[in-house]
Symmetry: D5
Subunit: 149 residues, 10 copies
Amino acid sequence: MISSREEVTAQILAQKVVKGIKWSTVAEAVGLSKEWTTAACLGQMALDKEQASKIGEIFELTDEAVAWLQIAPYKGSLPTAVPTDPLIYRWYELVNVYGSTIKELIHEEFGDGIMSAIDFSMDIQREPNPNGDRVNVVFSGKFLPYKTY
Amino acid sequence: MISSREEVTAQILAQKVVKGIKWSTVAEAVGLSKEWTTAACLGQMALDKEQASKIGEIFELTDEAVAWLQIAPYKGSLPTAVPTDPLIYRWYELVNVYGSTIKELIHEEFGDGIMSAIDFSMDIQREPNPNGDRVNVVFSGKFLPYKTY
Amino acid sequence: MISSREEVTAQILAQKVVKGIKWSTVAEAVGLSKEWTTAACLGQMALDKEQASKIGEIFELTDEAVAWLQIAPYKGSLPTAVPTDPLIYRWYELVNVYGSTIKELIHEEFGDGIMSAIDFSMDIQREPNPNGDRVNVVFSGKFLPYKTY
Amino acid sequence: MISSREEVTAQILAQKVVKGIKWSTVAEAVGLSKEWTTAACLGQMALDKEQASKIGEIFELTDEAVAWLQIAPYKGSLPTAVPTDPLIYRWYELVNVYGSTIKELIHEEFGDGIMSAIDFSMDIQREPNPNGDRVNVVFSGKFLPYKTY
Amino acid sequence: MISSREEVTAQILAQKVVKGIKWSTVAEAVGLSKEWTTAACLGQMALDKEQASKIGEIFELTDEAVAWLQIAPYKGSLPTAVPTDPLIYRWYELVNVYGSTIKELIHEEFGDGIMSAIDFSMDIQREPNPNGDRVNVVFSGKFLPYKTY
Amino acid sequence: MISSREEVTAQILAQKVVKGIKWSTVAEAVGLSKEWTTAACLGQMALDKEQASKIGEIFELTDEAVAWLQIAPYKGSLPTAVPTDPLIYRWYELVNVYGSTIKELIHEEFGDGIMSAIDFSMDIQREPNPNGDRVNVVFSGKFLPYKTY
Amino acid sequence: MISSREEVTAQILAQKVVKGIKWSTVAEAVGLSKEWTTAACLGQMALDKEQASKIGEIFELTDEAVAWLQIAPYKGSLPTAVPTDPLIYRWYELVNVYGSTIKELIHEEFGDGIMSAIDFSMDIQREPNPNGDRVNVVFSGKFLPYKTY
Amino acid sequence: MISSREEVTAQILAQKVVKGIKWSTVAEAVGLSKEWTTAACLGQMALDKEQASKIGEIFELTDEAVAWLQIAPYKGSLPTAVPTDPLIYRWYELVNVYGSTIKELIHEEFGDGIMSAIDFSMDIQREPNPNGDRVNVVFSGKFLPYKTY
Amino acid sequence: MISSREEVTAQILAQKVVKGIKWSTVAEAVGLSKEWTTAACLGQMALDKEQASKIGEIFELTDEAVAWLQIAPYKGSLPTAVPTDPLIYRWYELVNVYGSTIKELIHEEFGDGIMSAIDFSMDIQREPNPNGDRVNVVFSGKFLPYKTY
Amino acid sequence: MISSREEVTAQILAQKVVKGIKWSTVAEAVGLSKEWTTAACLGQMALDKEQASKIGEIFELTDEAVAWLQIAPYKGSLPTAVPTDPLIYRWYELVNVYGSTIKELIHEEFGDGIMSAIDFSMDIQREPNPNGDRVNVVFSGKFLPYKTY
């Protein structure tokens, strides 16, 4: 019996390696962006019934696993507070080095509040470049102002 | 006597509040992006002589402080490993929730390696939106592949 | 020269003890709830010009301090990740013991998403009770759904 | 053989997903609030014999599991000191940002002491709102004064 | 200007050493137990006006410091989560080694709930013993049951 | 094969729930205090041969498990440095809030040294009280002075 | 089914001990340096198809394991943030003691930027020495300058 | 009065910025490598009388500061266990990613033991390279075998 | 299949309890000190072929386990950075309380450097004493001086 | 005014450097071992009146500082839980690597209990050795058995 979403994620990852499935193919089949679809497969988003069935087919999951995909998961995809993986660490470093800068500039433009991480989308693209291709990532989040009451 | 860059950052912040200076004005005066300029003023980048003098003028810094601005600083702008400020935390959360997704998609597109946080630029823009304006942030970093040897 | 909002908070706290000012009096003078006003005085909210002047008068702050009150602060009012003060710890304990319950019930009612801590208000009231008066605290936050994209 | 309450919680969660049971239905069957019932099912409260049997029926638990439900559990429902799940983190953030405010206002009203997290109840409700429905959570705890001796 | 209770505690400690005052003498003067009085002087309890004045006289404190003594303090008297001082560590060790035992036996006697650390008193006594005198400490706290609702 | 005392503790706990055994009954059978006996069953004390056999009978343990009961265990009964369980946390809080007080008063009475946590006994009793029964816990430890050499 | 690279690493280590294979032999078979090859076998590098097959043959891995070797792994080879193993700790100590020195000297020579840990190679050699042989380790990484933008 | 080596380091750093001194110039004046000299100036090595006087002259230190330079310092040059500065973090990352590799290869070559971090020297050089100059760092430490006894 | 030294240590500990073997007997059989032999059995030292075979016989290990005994292990025998076991904690406390003293006295006698923990031996003896027997532990390590270069 | 023992320790250290005093000279003057005397000067032991006066003379301390020397201090001489200084870390490493060995051998010889860190003495000696002199440290502590009750 499956008692956590992590077990479903592990099954998806195992099947992905064995079958050589690509995230972009999965996203296309589900009809959503590759960013959202991958996050969902990695246990960070809840899927609706149809999306879950589709994912279930692709990764040959049981009905029970498909049911788990529709539950809002306990989110957080990293094993430690400061990530050890170099690729992910670079992002943590950006938050560390540029965090106060981002804070200052959003406040200068919008006043006190935050950029939502929920009403949010992300887009990752390759930018060809003669000095070495670049990774371009666009984060878009609604500004939410603190209100007085 | 000044014995760390943090003291210079504190002077800049104090002057900014008293004088009501905007980061975008500083950036214009220095002739660089508001993102890089703010990061530099917040003690995360080393400035060259001319840039440092300009910043020194704007914030009425001593020669000693201007000299410190040209030293490569000990970087990291946050007081705790997991940031407590809600705006900055949302970015930490994005790394935590989407970190494994970003890793998967960059590897799917580029193979093993990282997105550089050094050969890197950032652009923050307001996107008007009838449901509430959005913060759009573009991160652009060179892809650096791991090499076999 | 003042180089952080914490210094202003310290001045407010010192004046409050010396003068014996009550938060509810301050709130009335500012014309806002006692919850928001106290949070603002404790360095967790940015005030507008008029509010800041009012606070400045009450606590006899300098113009510089009043200017700092209008800056969006680096938020987070506790000295350690797990608070040691018994009153505040009880709240941390509630999040620890009831956190998964709150998560389950909000998801059951609303689906995947969060309760906003920004589009948010709080109300603290005494409820007389023959077995000992009770503290009643209402937290009200907008539900923000995760969206697919 | 079952050697911890966590195993029973895992069984309940697994059954809940497979059978599509709702917490509110469970609460109704047990005749208690949905908040307390969910906390109990998630391993945070001890049930009496009758309540445990009822839960046992609903989730098809063994007698051994039903016996464990009646033991006062080792409480704490979160895997890390600072929770990574965004919904639960928002609550941690509220304690962090508003903690000192709550402390000040309770002391102003009641004097030195705490709000009990044991003689305590919680109520979670949806408040319809044209700008987006709101989550309203009422926390009610007895005030316990520190006594001199 | 004094901006935290810690400063008052430091003044008390400094005066105590210089003047060679004993805690038991202070307690007698205040008319309360030596345990509560010492905790109050060390910044863990709020005093009423009369008690604070008395303490103020004994330690030659300013009016401002006496005002601070009447404020409910941010409690917690140890600099690290795991105390390094051998005497205090032994107590931490007792909680660590005997914690689960205390939990089991209180639950066996009283059911689910806690022993209050607020409706609480403590008494420290020397017990003469030919094999070496013993420290006897009695902790007395009201049992608070978890209630269903 | 059993390779740690924790496995034996788990077996004891599982049997205790299934059979509904009380710690006080076990203590009586072994002929020792309920405090020491419970601590021993929870893996914090080494038993002698006779005591271990008795425990083995009561909880239907194998000879191998009985052998493990006679090994001095790796002590420490809590899963985290700061305990999350509310009952046990209150004791941690007492050490945190009253730690410096206990230190001051023991030093005032005995001079520099510690209260032993080894040459130590504990007694937990219910004290009937019309305002709610109380938990009384006596800690008794030999005073050990630091010596000059 | 294999659901993480760690399982493959464990298989490789188990086979290495049983068969008495040397890393240098593996490196020769794969035709790459012993440093890169060992890191790859220990789960820190992604191998291409041919390299993975070769490793698979040597350690008698299944096709599934060989497929996992070609996936970019979640990197980081140490179980704790501060390593406990004396050999590895010495390296952590070198970073701790000499870290600021390395930073100063690289900045003095190259200006602000970093030495890449990705465009990087390592070479470990024995240097015979009458006072005891020495371990010589060469780290070579591309200098990456911070750029203004 | 100076009561720690850190104060001397701060004076050296302040003077270095004001006077624009280079570490390599200091090293030449002292007649030792730039690596050792820099580490010593940054408070990681004890200097002998002559070296300390020379450093004192260059940085215009008082006799008291010069005396402190000759005391074996409490070593460790980084403010956090996991360094936040990108340049130094890359070194921490190398230890994390390659640590187990270094361990395996040193043991394969030398048997059980460590590479000394005391009987140790370091050399940092620029290697010109058409694809971007490289930083080459040679670490040389005596191998110390564990001995049986 | 065995994939870590910890598994072998667990087997040894399980056999030791079942068979009632003493470390001193093992040491005699291997012909080395009880300190080194115990450390080796507990997974902290690599054994040579003959020693490993001997240990294998005594604890009835498989050939695979005996092979693992000859691998240099990942050292560190404690589950947490600050040990919870009272006996081991006392040693941690000695390092904490006397650490700076040991440092001062070794530097006063030898100059800057360390006492080796590799070229090291330990001897534990009982010293009969009418006031209670004493544990005497001798640590002997080669002094390693920091060298200038 | 002095408000903590740390300030006195800082004064002693500052005077020691300026005057070039040796710990062994201080110990002789006080008539106690160099180990205890150094620990006392470093703020880890309470001195009696006569010893404190003697120390006060040697280091030219004020009466107030001399009074502080007679107060039982908050012990613990290291700034971090895992020490960064290489000399002190080696001791931490010995506890980590040999901790379980020491535990096993003391229990084998004495049964369950601990070696006292209070009824304790330490002796540090240089042992001349042609292969490099050795540091020999003898730790002697009374064995304290756990008792049943």
